[in-house]
């Protein structure tokens, strides 16, 4: 099946810093989503981005489907950005099944 690799596995930032989270995938995709799992365990939708670039406030994402990667940018990080960031994809022909990466644990220090 499709492989989803996220990097780096862990990230520690000082409040106000910027960061880039990466997601590589091994095959063509119909769907790519970024999620934030907050410290209370909720999975929050950040972006639905099978291709192209989107922005939402301090967050933006870019997916280059032909090169099989996606990037999530966090600018001016805040302590509330802490948590785990997941990239998940639906492999073309995979019948809506989301395959998740292992996640990136982000800690933003005040």
């Amino acid at each position: 099946g499709i492989q989803v690799e996220q990097s780096p596995p862990d990230l520690i930032l000082q409040e106000g810093a910027n960061s880039t989270l990466r997601c590589n995938f091994s095959d063509s995709v119909n769907n790519l989503q970024w999620f934030h799992q907050n410290p209370w365990g909720q999975l929050i939708n950040l972006f639905y981005i099978p291709s192209g670039t989107k922005q939402n406030g301090r967050l933006s994402a870019t997916t280059v489907a032909t090169e099989r990667y996606s990037l999530l940018y966090i600018s001016s990080s805040q302590t509330t950005d802490s948590g785990v960031y997941f990239c998940a994809v639906v492999n073309t022909g995979a019948n809506s099944k989301l395959t998740f990466g292992k996640g990136i644990t982000l800690s933003v220090r005040p």
């Binding site: 365990g41 909720q42 639905y48 809506s96 998740f100």
Partner: protein, 115 residues
Amino acid sequence: DTAVSQTPKYLVTQMGNDKSIKCEQNLGHDTMYWYKQDSKKFLKIMFSYNNKELIINETVPNRFSPKSPDKAHLNLHINSLELGDSAVYFCASSHILSRGYNEQFFGPGTRLTVL
């Protein structure tokens, strides 16, 4: 509020018991899913239903039986619970992929602890 909801939020039970988790969505979606998150936070699909029909059934023990009474509800029944079933179970919903847009939305999760 429009959302995916699950009950219960926490479930603590003894080995060998049978338990159910319920999920409801009011987003007008036709496809629902169960995912399992293990102790290392890894998320994996278990089942998916489209309009009450099972379309994804990953390699899950047959002690797990999903049931979809209608396209807004998907329940998960687990027989003879084992220690290894302890995890967080997430329900999700979306439109079917063939409609072109199938962003998946997740419920708050059910933390199952088997003692």
